[in-house]
Symmetry: D4
Subunit: 234 residues, 8 copies
């Protein structure tokens, strides 16, 4: 083979965004902003707007969000606690407001709030509104058992917990609704990093919990949307 | 407090089976037989038959299955490769045969066969028939891409893979159908125990994969049945 | 220095049993039999009988127990499920039978039975009878909540659980009684070896759980006895 | 189900503090402040004062403590080394000063001081005064053996150590008093993070040590208070 | 032995650079700058220039690069994204521009860009130009399959991926060209640090992947150059 | 979708061997026999013979090899130490005998012999003869340095070592020839399982070592054959 | 290069024993028998006898020792508990009996006996007699403190302990004599495999402990002999 | 027991420095400054000076050293690279300058310089001068082999290496001198934190290496001084 450097350079347009993923795989590609440069993010944002397609960015540092907002005024919808940015002509709330609520997010403690917010924002972006039940950890079991009937009304529950993650097992044992478990990196000592919560979800004595990666709020939202699509095809 | 030993003994009838879990949580309690004694298994089996309720046992060693079959002739349905036993008046196949197939099991290699079989048996026991696509790992990608349209027809896919578990990401990127990932403890060196496959599923670049514990065939089946129930309630 | 081999040999009488530990530290030395030879066990047993002091051995393989029983007829009290041997003129039950029951053992599943039995035997040997509540895992929460008042009557609870160990948090959140957590090596995949249960106990969202090593039934019993002695000194 | 977003919003009042836990489980809920926002902390503090109930916050960063103090003058009692805040009309010292000292804290080195301080503050908040013996690690064994008789006078010992945590075994072998072990994240290389100290406590050759999570000063205090309550019920 | 301090001091000239390694082992010694002081780096740079030999430094912090550039104007070629410095009279590009391109770098995402840049710079320094294909991860498989024929034209591929690293298996299964896998420390939760990507490469179901350490761009380049030299000797 | 079980069963012919991989990816599919049943192995063997294509099986337990040999007399070539079986009309040696030796296997100790044998058998099956230098670990460095010139004559070296794997760095620093590192699971304590040897190869101070999984003899052979093909295309 | 297979075969005499290591590095090469075949062991044994040089084998399985003894009657000295074989015309005891005892082995429990025996046999083989103090763990501290003066008489102490390894710190804090720590793989739960004991030795609060690998009795003996040689050169 | 808070306070003078350790255990207590407050360090420094005894502090952050120097002018000897402070009337160099050099420090790379400096400063403080050989890693083996005879002249070698730590095995195989291995936390990917270097030292194929904790420069110096004392007692 004998390609020379100059020719090859033309081949390498670095960002190859998968713009058709939404159609092909039901959930569009999103941007994990944490380790991308502001130049890369701006490039993707502009491509998205040019295609009249929105784009969701997760784990966006505050400074990057500020630059994006400055460069694309009115088209950058930033949620500080969730660390998300939606690049679109309209805010994500406008999309889902009138639809019935099929998903509830159930979180063990107030420290889980950032992950809860990421799930909510991602669900909104995907057109799915959600309800929120925070601070219902198993230490005060009454908070959970008194909600059992209400929670059973939803099509799907997303449980969010750090530390020992006992919420996952207790919730899945209480209600017939399917549960998606999102372990959270809240904790210290052996609980640092969220690995105990993750492993608790995976080795739960209640079978049938769908587990996603630690702090992976968007993943939980994407899974929820895919699962809620099941009945559309049956 | 002053209970005396004799009184207390009466309190302690060791097996407290959760016979109403099927009604409450959609999937009945099953028995993880591996670390139970044959006496405990027989006890549960007899309680089940007395209630005219079947019971599924998983990870049943061959010798325990033989004793059960001997003690309860005609009522113990043992699947050697799956290492499952269904205690019931009728074999599990009789339950689900006439229903449409909504779930497909997609496995990377023939070494994953025992876990595939556990999923199939558990699905049958739960009344859900399944199709099976084995030996379609990513090393020969054509095996998977040529099936993409066919696999898109199912409501739900259960992907089964050991080693590096690349199947999970590739499959979830190819089809819009939701994917449950079952990592398998096939591998050696860094791949021993199935942890790489598990972590690949959790950290996949394709969001929206529902992960269960390593080798947890029953868990995947239970999750599938819960998820297929979503549309019934919407 | 110039000691010669012959002299030194006299110094090295290998077993230096700590016969006064019971008096000094409230709980006598026990023998972890697993990695000791039958000769070493017999030697200790004979020293104990010569001193008219009993001795407890834990993790005794069946064959070793048989040899001990053969060599010391009537003085070896073996419990197969607990894998314990008490070497004494009288069986351990004879010691504690008339005392009120202050400790309850609460176990998540029937697979935890061997550890439960070790705790019971150790408590009996230490003169403390106990009550037992097995198979009350959180998957069927009603089994636990309906016992809450009864369990609150005891001075101390010993909770025993493998897999994700959610029992520890739920129990400690339900009752005011102090809880000792004994993680059990029942589980597979990420749950193998009991590490998830251990870490759940340690990182519980309910503070104030006293944790001991995985499968450490004797340790839990020893801790219980030490703790029950607190009020005697106050 | 068809709840709409607006209605649901009313349900989700984020902080559901477990105000009755003190009555139910003997130790009230405390606030792990580290990953909470200042808004969440202020909200809880104000609820507490409104109920004329104090509240303890642990792992409070200095800046958050300053904001709390500014907003609630005279009602925020901050201990810098312990990183604790007690929100109450009176300082925690006022509660316990006249009671006999039943608990001693025994720490291996001066580097353990922050954890020692957290234990002391938590005990004061729970109404239990304590004595302190710092810098008595096993490297200079005489420091510990000469205290053996004095330490035996207490009802309960809380041992605090990082690095290899040999203090736990040595102390528990020296005195009959029950020992709570608090591993500390002081160390480097293999000792980093406190895991060696934790595992030393769990696998100690002296049975009967009650272990809590690394750096979990409040957990040790809560456990102590629960255990000291045992004799009150017998 | 009786050397005295003064004599010994003369022996200890700290930097013993291996200037002949290029001739002996085909790839010259490079400098891992991360944990070296600016004094050490300047010393090596000056030695290199004095020998009219260039030197490559990797993982150079921006401030150190600035000091070097200031001290050795015109001779320090810094690449910010790659974090490399080449100390030489001419920029590295001048060396390799006219040679045919035998190596292609294939990267899963734009977050891998810094490692891609380090590989490119190192290859240039070693006289080997390369082509670049970025953002072709398996989530959008079409991006990779449509490149299969083009990629097969190269002598060697260097695959760069973080998260679950499925790219390594898929690429190696698609083309006959040998693949060097460079895992990248992009990811979070179980994917943090790049260990999942590394282990995926090592336990791939496609045998024959050459793996290097996480983020080791230079190592991949050095391996490529050594391997491309094989045919020169046959 | 409404496929019924009967139809689906026809779809599921479990073994989908990738018979064209040799042509597509240069190295044919091989069979990891360890976790396959004897029925699965026989099925593959018969398919291979029917296509007049040989097949290599690795990690074949002795009993399975015996059954294969019995069922397919004269066509099963078993190497006990390597634990390999070649199913073919002719033994693997017949293929490669007349070709020049381009690869040398260099092993640290005699305990590495099984992995060395697997590499040799795999290379023979792939048509590549090899030389072997065993027991040349760095403890007796003279064994290695006196071979340096001879080893430099080969196109490629495969280094095999367990324990601390210092051989990889020393060898790669001594000769210009590229080195493939195969860590071996020989060792105990921290060295158990081969992880130290693996990590030593990956973090070597000598850049440019191609690493494969622990005990992965076939992987090293496959990589060698792919790499030796580079010059054919240049 | 074009060596042909036949020539190369002559090069590969597999066992290259380092017979001059004793002279060069003070301690001769020994044979880790565990993963070697009986043929390899016999070959080495016969080479040793032919050179009138003895050889020590460690971790020898009983069956291998029996075959060796049968093949080389009177020249194989097997120690069952230590799992060592010395191949020599005379038993190892004959070498060292008349020399003063400079090394004492101090072991925490009787379960450590096999490692103690390996150290003793290895020391004898290397010409160094030793004294033994077993069962002096820190749970009964008096056993250790009453020996402090006696132990201070030796030139060197080898401490042997499993579980939490507190013995290492306590011993090194009590006596001025240098301590070699040998962690032992006795323990369960977090203590399994000896890693806690190892890490305790490494992160001891008493600096100056020389640590060797888990269960590495021979390594401790070799280190002791090297260290005792220091004074000979000063 | 009924001690009251006030009395107890008198007991708790926090710093209990072990001033007699030098006499008892040959090496005096040193201060690990990293996690101590400046108040604690000043307190110890003043106690030391009051006793006319010096004290060594390790891992002293620059700001703490500056405060100490300001408070105790002329008596604080700070070495920036080593991060050590010696509090004494005279600098540590003054103590050892006239003694013969018995210890050599051999380091793999210039990145190891801070640990080398800590060893040197600690040895000086303990009255033992040393020679230094830096940048002699195995990648350029000639650097090490040409020093073999010179290094054999010392009584003791301290080897310092990060990354894969091959230096430990190579050095110990080359010279008869005893080797203390100090693993260094230099490296990235699998080599991060120094664990690979540590485990390489522990599982070396050359028996008889004395290992200390990662980055534990003082520990190596303390061990060296203890070992050099052996011949004084024989």
């Amino acid at each position: 083979m004998s390609l020379h450097l100059r020719e090859v350079t033309g081949v390498a347009d670095d960002v190859r965004f998968d713009w058709t993923r939404g159609a092909r795989a039901r959930v569009p590609e999103v941007v994990l902003a944490e380790s991308k440069t502001i130049e890369q993010l701006l490039d993707i944002a502009q491509q998205a707007l040019a295609r009249q397609q929105g784009v969701l960015m997760t784990r966006v540092q505050a400074e990057k969000a500020a630059v994006l907002a400055e460069q694309l005024p009115g088209q950058v919808h930033h949620h500080a606690q969730a660390r998300t940015v939606v690049v679109a002509d309209q805010p994500p709330e406008s999309l889902s407001q009138e639809r019935p609520v099929r998903v509830a997010i159930v979180a063990a403690g107030t420290s889980d709030a950032p992950v809860v917010a990421e799930i909510e924002q991602a669900l909104l972006y995907l057109g799915e509104p959600s309800a929120r039940y925070v601070d219902v950890g198993v230490a005060g079991l009454w908070r959970l058992t008194e909600l059992a009937d209400e929670l059973s009304e939803y099509s799907l529950l997303i449980a969010v917990a750090g530390m020992e993650g006992a919420l996952f097992s207790v919730l899945a044992g209480l209600v017939p609704t399917p549960v998606i478990a999102v372990p959270v990196s809240v904790g210290y000592g052996v609980g640092a990093g969220g690995h105990v919560a993750l492993n608790s979800a995976l080795s739960s004595c209640v079978p049938g919990i769908a587990v996603v990666n630690i702090d992976n709020g968007f993943g939980a939202a994407a899974l929820a949307v895919k699962l809620l699509g099941i009945h559309a095809r049956a």
